[in-house]
Amino acid sequence: MATPENKLAFDGGWQYSPAPESTDHVKIKKTYELFIGGEFVAPVQGKYFDTINPATEEKLSKVALASAADVDKAVKAARKAFVGWSRLKPAERGKYIFRIARILQERSREFAVIESLDGGKPIRESRDVDVPLAAAHFFYYAGWADKLEYAFPGRAVKPLGVAGQIIPWNFPLLMAAWKIAPALACGNTVVLKPAETTPLTALKLAEVIADAGLPPGVVNIVTGAGETGAAIVNHPGFDKIAFTGSTDVGRIIQKALAGSNKKYTLELGGKAANIIFADAAIDEAVEGIVNGIFFNQGHVCCAGSRLLVQEPVADAVIRKLRDRMETLIVGDPLDKNTDIGAINSKQQLETIKSYLAIGQEEGSEMFQSSCAVPKRGYWCRPTIFTGVSQSNRVVQEEIFGPVLAIQTFRTFDEALIKANNTPYGLSGGVWTDKGSKIFKMTQSIRAGVVWANTFNKFDPTSPFGGNKESGVGREGGMHGLDAYLKLGG
């Protein structure tokens, strides 16, 4: 370990001046209605809720609250549209989806700014990750629309019908793309509900869908909170439910759907192990730890929230990680230099804070970077817990914030046992210079995605999904088509 006098100093000295992304070009309406049957319509009960900017706590817009009656209208519109959409020449369906992708690219700056305003994520991420990946998903599935028979040779492919899709607040536009693109490519129509804290980019996407000239009712977007979600899950008119969110809600949905004829996919929580072997490229592994847990404020279901580091390098890794954390800039999501933005909501900040208290009560050592955070808004400094074990709640439970639990291990087998000793199984990471160790570990971790010498990499061609309590089914890639098709003999 470094002695105090060998410590690097990252405070003071040359600082980066503010470099805010301009918001002049962005139009946010005062009120957003529901997007049903190709037009924006007022909610039946006339209720609305506010969506706020978590970095300033200021209201951005007022958004319609959809009731069961609105969901019913949306389902009827989708059912009506399904007749034409499913019979449309597949190449024509593809054209519409390509058009959505292109418009998204053209308006990428606007989408990035709104995503950061509404959700609190740094503009660097919404600009470089969320929006380009969302467009990439539409491009990718547009290409499949007229090639579905080739994805499943010898099988007859048929769309399911109307899909109800419920998405979370951590990647609002990207999750909408993950859900809508494959559903449309396969000939389904959809009713999508964005999360109540981040509805704006989905509503902007509705504008894009209207601009792209999609037939009315093919995509319907209803906004609201848990009750609206329940109205979707319990509506008999859906052929498929796709949900991304917490494991608790996933359980309720699975119970509700049991015995029904609805197909479903569930993308739920995670508590991924990121395993650093002593022979890894240490500096790059530290960067991988940072990308694994501090990307999107740790609001990532596949976040590398448990670090398992081999004992010979543990001190060096923790020292380097602390130094790196001191260089992370927390603050205004719209500043191009911000690394960590605002926590998505007050409620989520309280959840994270409760875990910070739990970790300390459990006797773990907590370290937070020393950066200043703004007075208003919801903020959490990047945090690590050392001296934790499998018995601690900060190791067992999903925190969904920039909080990393660090454990050490001695042998390959010990790392593997700890990695798998969780009810979740969404993702994992392995860092080693030895190829054979990568293969042995990736084959043994029970998780849907395992990254080797990198973390949090996404691509539309790659399937994504969980084992155990992390969910059912796969999205992305060819596997993602299967979730929206009836396969015949």
Binding site: A2, L8, A281, G288
Partner: protein, 308 residues
Amino acid sequence: MSLSAVTSTFKLPDLSRIPTVDEVGINERVARFQSRSIKSASKVEALKLILSMIDLTTLEGQDTPGKVRQLCQKAIHLHDSIPGLPHVAAVCVYPTMVKVAKKALGDRGINIASVATAFPSGQAPLSVKLDDTRMAVAEGANEIDMVISRGEFLAGNYGMVFDEILAIKEACGDAHLKVILETGELGTLDRVRQASELAMHAGADFIKTSTGKIQPAATMQVTLVMLQAIRDYFAATGRMVGMKPAGGIAHSKLAIHYLVMLRETLGNAWMTPQWFRFGASSLANDVLMQIRKQATGVYQSADYFSKD
């Protein structure tokens, strides 16, 4: 300090125990530095800092006393119409030109760096390299930029390379020693990391990427690997080692990205000409042009900036 005292301080490291480098990860980290947006006050501050870190360089077969005197004038008078500019850190010349530079620079606080040790190839016997070094120091160089024997390093004769650096360090006396790894000839980032460790353990005051005669010269990738090596060496020994990327850094924007990388890798203590240098011949004018632009909002023609 006797040679035996020096050798007892510096020991050849076990290169097999040095951490490996992942090139994909290095590229990603570099891209992240490049995504930093440096504006307004922080940009002006950076530009001035860059000027103060420049080793203004001429290393050509056609160098003459006349050319070196002109370069020294440029070092002293970077752009007198802009008040408050710093001077460059050093001029960098061949040993035969040290005397000329010393006379031209006088006592203005601008260092004289001289490449020695059969620059740029290093293909000469140790005795020749030592003479080369001693001559440059005797003529007034306060900094010696030596090249390592890349052939010996690639052949695995690490002890030989280590001993050579040690001997040159001894010959330098009070002059600072910069050790040029010539990363463009080392092949992989792992080897860059190993050569960095070897040079630091042999007593290098600075490690430097390139001679400028081999492509690629300095890149952000190799510089990052060397900065990481400096960081680990500092953590282990408490001794600060300086860094000098050289060759291929011609524009302010790139130089600012290097500063971002320096700041986020080694912290503020290294953000001075004492610990970081740019080896460059044409960077200064681009920086001056940017400083002018920051003040006036418009770019001036390159003809307004002296080309010495």
